[in-house]
């Protein structure tokens, strides 16, 4: 591991996530639902379907259509966000769909749709990761056959340290260089498939060397393995109740 002087604002170790919480079956009307939180970032997800897709021309005779909508509540962020989709949430919705698609057997349900709705109740960075984790559990809770679960976690480089599960303060981390403040945070949201270990989501923005990226991915994978266990426990719990 890289030697580093960076201290995390909440006192965590570099490879330590915030407190992770998961609950399944929280929305009665939905076919499947779940809540997932990384500390102050809390997401809920509801799954409806497979159900008939209207209008008909949107149907795919080969397979089920997966639709994902990610949105933030207006009061989930410090400054009120106007309700409704924006460019950011549209892109995250699409990335979420791509992160979940590989584990679903969409060919089993031609001409239908599975709708996944993700709502961020409270935001403190890594919200798309919390959303994907909630959605993956909600899909399993809906009784859909899946090869494996999807577990998402963010990693990144803050200052000179490679860390897992960035909070907002880290995402906005700046250092002073020659008297000017410059951004010193690289944010890498990742999603891993729980059995194969394959990566179904990777995004990056920032400034990082290839060998550091490799280290960040390895760190994320380790953290994801633990998170998967939390997801599985929550799914088991709802079946016991």
């Amino acid at each position: 591991m890289t030697k580093s002087t960076y201290k995390r604002p909440d006192g965590r170790e570099y490879d330590e996530t915030r407190k992770v919480e998961a609950e399944v079956g929280i929305i009665k009307n939905a076919d499947g639902s779940a809540m997932f939180s990384f500390g102050g970032s809390k997401a809920i997800a509801a799954v409806y379907g497979p159900r008939q897709l209207h209008p008909q021309h949107m149907q795919d005779p080969e397979q089920c259509v997966l639709r994902c909508i990610y949105d933030m509540l207006p009061f989930s962020v410090p400054e009120r966000k106007r309700p409704g989709p924006a460019r950011r949430s549209v892109e995250i919705s699409y990335m979420t769909k791509k992160a979940l698609e590989p584990v679903l057997h969409l060919k089993s349900f031609p001409n239908t749709v599975i709708d996944v709705y993700i709502m961020i109740l409270q935001a403190d960075a890594s919200t798309r990761c919390a959303g994907i984790n909630a959605a993956s559990m909600a899909l399993a809770n809906a009784g859909l056959s899946m090869n494996e679960l999807v577990t998402s976690v963010s990693t990144g480089k803050i200052g000179d340290a490679i860390v897992v599960d960035l909070c907002k303060e880290e995402e906005d981390y700046k250092i002073k260089k020659d008297g000017i403040e410059i951004k010193a945070a690289t944010d890498i949201p990742l999603a891993f498939l729980s059995r194969s270990g394959k990566i179904s989501l990777i995004q990056l923005d920032g400034n990082i060397k290839p060998e550091e990226l490799k280290e960040a991915i390895a760190l994320g994978k380790k953290a994801a393995e633990k998170i998967t266990q939390v997801q599985i426990q929550a799914l088991k719990k709802v079946n016991e109740d």
Binding site: I27, A46, P74, G84
Partner: protein, 266 residues
Amino acid sequence: MEISELTKKIIEELLKEGRRFDGRKLNELREVKIETDISKNAEGSAKVKIGDTEVVVGVKLNVGEPYPDSQDAGTMMVAAELSPLASENFESGPPQIEAIELARLVDRAIRESEYIDFKKLCVRKGELVWNVFIDIYPMNVDGNLIDASTLAAVIALSRAVFPVLEDDKVKYGELTTKKLPLNNAPITITSYKINNSFILDPTTAEEESSSCRISVALTSQKEIKIHALQKSGYDALTEEEIDEVVSLAVNEHKKLYNMCSQFFKK
């Protein structure tokens, strides 16, 4: 999904004998559960559950210029979104009439009862006032959304505190201990008409069997005052029926009020 004619018929026949699907009396509410401070970035928030209906409301505060016609008063905006997350009857997209009506009903209950003391939200007359944003999000819907949303909004407001204001800018994330200036809390009671009976706190199946509804928003400190009324649905009502639903609201609102009176203490 529409309920079947058969379900509708059973609901109607039971009501003739004064009974309901889930065994409740006509004016009986389902269990009410309240959680507060559910979202830390909101200046105030609450979650209200009535039966299987669950609504979250968050309050955000900002500052801005006052309206030209009320230079010394703060402003309020209420928005509701019926997200498809909460029910398969809801669709994505811009707010439909149901969401707009819901937001406006909550708005009028709060505004007309003068629950918020807007004059005390003035920072500098004609220049700077506080704006109160109330966002309503149902999380699961099984009827009676209007009463649940009004209650959640009123409780979220009761929990709200001002953020720090510095150089006329809000410092988000830094809160003062100062609460919003509030008066007596309004309660909304909506009655639903099925055949010739009126019921309170309907489930979705009961709502879909009803021919019309009336919402009554009132306050009841010292004396009862009605602040907002709205009839919806396809049926028309007699004067006697209007009397009946107003009496229902007057008689039954106390139950709801008492359940959450701890939040209304000044």
